[in-house]
């Protein structure tokens, strides 16, 4: 791996000034910082270098060294241990949400690392739910050690209280699996008996054996009907109560009636039984439901992801001194101490001290804002450089962060066109089916009362809208699993439908089309006493001390002049003494005043000595290398492309011109972006929004479909429908193509289901189809639908 590929561990660009490497399997790989080096070495030294071969996505960046993770200690007290873990005899079990995990390799790394810690009985990670189930010895148990290990690997651990860990989806999936198994095993058994029964019909019959086989079939079918098919009955009843009959109603009538009639026939030694049809019917329906549920559960639960933005603990100032408390115990009015580098645990107000806060989480603005006593602080933002005391004004879901996440949640559910195609037609078809079945029953009751029941049953079974019901979920499930192989996570099942119909792709600029990392594009030297090289070196030396996001642009690999007395002036710049003269770098006023250059394409940073401006630097955000290809590919799919950005007009114009985008909007606040999207929607456009900023969270939710890169802000991901893993932009087109293909398959499936039903219905109504043939026809039609959907797995 070369430098150009970025850090071996986290894939971020390696600064030119950094020549750290890590040796793995005799090869040396560049890393971007000592933190990544430490993590990579930890992974290597524990014999887990295979992680790098197996992972899909780069690691979540630098962990915190274990010794710095004193904040976890708070979880060691007896009462916290009880609150976050459950005791079983001599062991405990805790569930920990692990933020920053994207692939199975991560779960392997976590499991193996923790599994080797003393006292750990077992560690199981579910990469889909991001939850780690950890069993450890009760004696001498220290949760803090495990949390610190996770943190040092670069993940964000978050212990969950036992109540919040029993997720309804898990229970739902388990029950559905059980039902599916009962239905499938029951079907197989009953089929076997049915073969016996039919062949006996042919070859002459031993009445006792026939009765015996029917009885056995009855025993097997009973749990299938009452256990496996239970959801259909409850669903049908709910539909009746709500006066909105769903597909469950005809299904329940068919299953219930066929079962009741078969039971009656069994015990009165009647003409025929339909246990085989009943079980087959139930099995295929249950299978359809199961597939649909799996597709739905792919919607990843990101509710806990948000809380990882907040620190786990805070330092509360009491009369008695400082106490480290979990964030969940904070209350309004609490006085907190926040050190430099920590995140703000709750919304509040500065009461003492000055600092600057990085609120990029909420605003997307990378520049820290200066904060003095009386200024508001936002939970989740980072206290960059000063120690402050704050008073809590709101906590938890009342904070700005909580509100935004709730808002985007709401916007997501209020989205138009949410109902899928099958849902829309299902109700009509169901009512139509019931009417037809009733008509058939009445007709045959007068024409031939003996056959009336059998024929009505056949009609209900053969026209079962299973193929119709399976058409969409089967295709979505197949598409979802294929897309995750193509490094796209679909978090919203309906995203594929809206993606396939998209007409307009709106891109955010910073961090999406551009790298989001500024670089020096030009240096203007005013004072001829200095060369450009001098200026660059001095700037690099001064900015070396700064944590400001722009500072990284100045880094140079050369030997830098020595700086003394360096001081970071919050919101202004950096000053320092080089060769006995005071140098300053920062904004114009700070450096020398007066030297304003009104040109807003790029950010200007001024360098001056003793009050005189020497030079200024133009900093610009670079385009991603594949941005142009991707925009062209999106166009060739027939989509219009637009660019919206919060940046100034010139910067946006430059990017738009470079990419050939005509439709561009600059200086947009989040509200403006949302308005642009809504206007487009009113024009009849179907909008895909691609963005990564936190600012875009409500905007993403407002678009028909939203795509966020995995390296973007967490909050954006919580409201995105599709998450792109990896740095490349190419998945945008893949997603659209895949969505179109999926919808094509869905349409084929629906068309087939309708053709089948319209052909089968008259035949069954005319009495040509016995129930067993009806069940086979129904199953075959469903099978075709599933097989057709599976073609999506071969999508390239």
């Amino acid at each position: 791996m070369s430098r150009a590929d970025g850090c071996f561990h986290c894939a971020l660009p390696v600064p030119a000034s950094c020549d750290l490497t890590v040796d793995i399997d005799g090869e040396s790989h560049p890393v971007c910082c000592p933190g990544c080096k430490a993590v990579a070495e930890l992974i290597r030294d524990t014999g887990m270098a295979r992680y790098y071969e197996l992972r899909d996505a780069p690691a979540p960046g630098v962990g915190r060294p274990a010794e710095e993770a004193a904040e976890w200690r708070v979880f060691d007290s007896a009462e916290m241990l009880d609150a976050f873990s459950e005791r079983h005899d001599d062991s405990r079990e805790a569930t920990i949400y692990v933020g920053g995990m994207y692939c199975s390799a991560c779960s392997w790394l976590i499991e193996t690392t923790l599994g080797r810690q003393p006292g750990v009985r077992s560690a199981e990670v579910n990469p889909i739910t991001h939850r780690l189930r950890l069993r450890f010895d009760d004696a001498g148990a220290r949760l803090s050690g495990f949390l610190a290990t996770l943190a040092s690997l670069g993940y964000q651990p978050q212990p969950l209280s036992p109540e919040s860990t029993t997720r309804p989806e898990v229970a739902e999936q388990r029950t559905a699996l059980k039902r599916l198994l009962v239905a499938s095993l029951g079907m197989m058994q009953v089929m076997m008996f049915a073969v016996g029964l039919y062949s006996m019909d042919y070859q002459g019959i031993d009445p006792d054996m026939q009765h015996f086989l029917r009885l056995v079939s009855f025993f097997v079918t009973t749990p299938v009907v009452f256990y496996a098919a239970k959801p259909f009955f409850t669903g049908a009843w709910r539909g009746i109560v709500a006066r909105k009959p769903g597909m469950d109603l005809p299904v329940s009538i068919a299953v219930g009636a066929a079962y009741a009639a078969s039971v009656y026939a069994t015990f009165t030694r009647g003409e025929a039984v339909w246990f085989d049809s009943v079980t087959m019917f139930v099995f295929f329906l249950t299978l359809g439901r199961f597939l649909e549920m799996r597709a739905r559960h792919r919607s990843i639960d990101r509710s806990a992801a948000l809380s990882t933005l907040l620190p786990n603990t805070a330092t509360r100032i009491d009369e008695s001194g400082h106490a480290v408390v979990p964030v969940s115990q904070l209350q309004r009015g609490d006085r907190l101490l926040v050190r430099a580098g920590e995140s703000i645990p709750a919304d509040g107000e500065v009461v003492w001290g000055t600092t600057s806060a990085d609120e990029s989480l909420l605003t997307g603005e990378a520049r820290p804002k200066s904060k003095i006593a009386g200024d508001g602080l936002v939970a989740g933002s980072i206290n960059v450089d000063g120690m402050i005391e704050m008073v809590v004004t709101s906590t938890g879901s009342d904070t700005t962060l909580g509100t935004i996440s709730r808002l985007s949640e709401r916007a997501r559910y209020a989205r138009p066109g949410f109902v899928t195609l099958a849902d829309r037609v299902a109700s009509y078809i169901v009512v139509a089916l019931l009417v037809v079945a009733a008509a058939v029953a009445v007709f045959w009751y007068f024409a031939d009362p003996d056959r009336a029941f059998v024929i009505t049953l056949s009609v209900l079974v053969v026209t079962c809208p299973c193929a119709l019901a399976l058409a969409t979920p089967a295709a979505f499930a197949a598409a979802g699993s294929r897309l995750s192989q193509l490094r796209l996570l679909v978090t919203n099942g309906n995203a594929l439908e809206s993606l396939s119909r998209a007409t307009l792709a709106i891109f955010d600029k910073t961090g999406t089309l551009t790298m989001g990392m500024p670089r020096i594009t030009a240096v203007f030297v005013i004072d001829n006493a200095w060369t450009e090289k001098d200026c660059r070196l001095i700037a690099a030396a001064l900015e070396h001390a700064s944590t400001h996001p722009l500072a990284s642009a100045f880094a140079l690999p050369d030997v830098l002049p020595a700086v003394s007395d360096e001081k970071v002036h919050v919101g202004q710049g950096v000053s320092g003494t080089i060769d006995g003269r005071e140098w300053r770098i920062g904004n114009a006023d700070f450096v020398g005043g007066g030297a304003h250059a009104e040109d807003a394409v790029s950010t200007h940073v001024f360098l001056g000595v003793e009050g005189n401006v020497v030079a200024w630097f133009d900093l610009e955000d670079e385009l991603r290398p594949d941005a142009r290809t991707m925009i062209n590919a999106v166009r060739s799919l027939g989509l219009d492309v637009a660019l919206v950005s919060g940046d100034n007009r010139l910067a946006v114009e430059t990017v738009a011109a470079a990419l050939g985008i005509e439709d561009r909007y600059a200086e947009c606040r989040p509200e403006d972006k949302l308005r642009i999207i809504e206007e487009a929607q009113r024009r009849g456009e179907r909008v895909i929004m691609i963005g990564d900023g936190i600012n875009d969270a409500p905007v993403l939710a407002g678009a028909d479909t939203s795509i966020a890169p995995a390296h973007g802000a967490l909050l954006a991901q919580t409201s995105a429908d599709v998450i792109m893993l990896g740095e490349s932009l190419a998945p945008v087109t893949t997603a659209v193509q895949m969505a179109r293909k999926t919808m094509r398959i869905v349409r084929q499936n629906l068309a087939w289901a309708i053709v089948y039903n319209t052909l089968a219905l008259p035949l069954a109504a005319a009495g040509f189809v016995p129930p067993w043939a009806a069940a086979i026809g129904m199953s075959a039609s469903s099978l075709i639908v599933v097989l057709n959907a599976l073609r999506l797995n071969r999508f390239e």
């Binding site: 030294d45 199975s104 390799a105 579910n126 990469p127 388990r174 054996m209 015996f212 097997v220």
Partner: protein
Amino acid sequence: MNILYVLIPLALLLLGLAVWAFFWAVGSGQFDDLDTPAMRVVMDDDSKPKEDEPS
């Protein structure tokens, strides 16, 4: 044919056993994550440089 009167109940018994075993497996969470175990086979850590050292 009379052997069927024995064999079929026997089959049902086995069926019951299979269902019970499966319910137990589902209940103990073995089917909760169907993605990672497939990877786990590939992930045998054959390189253990520091395994022998006391940790």
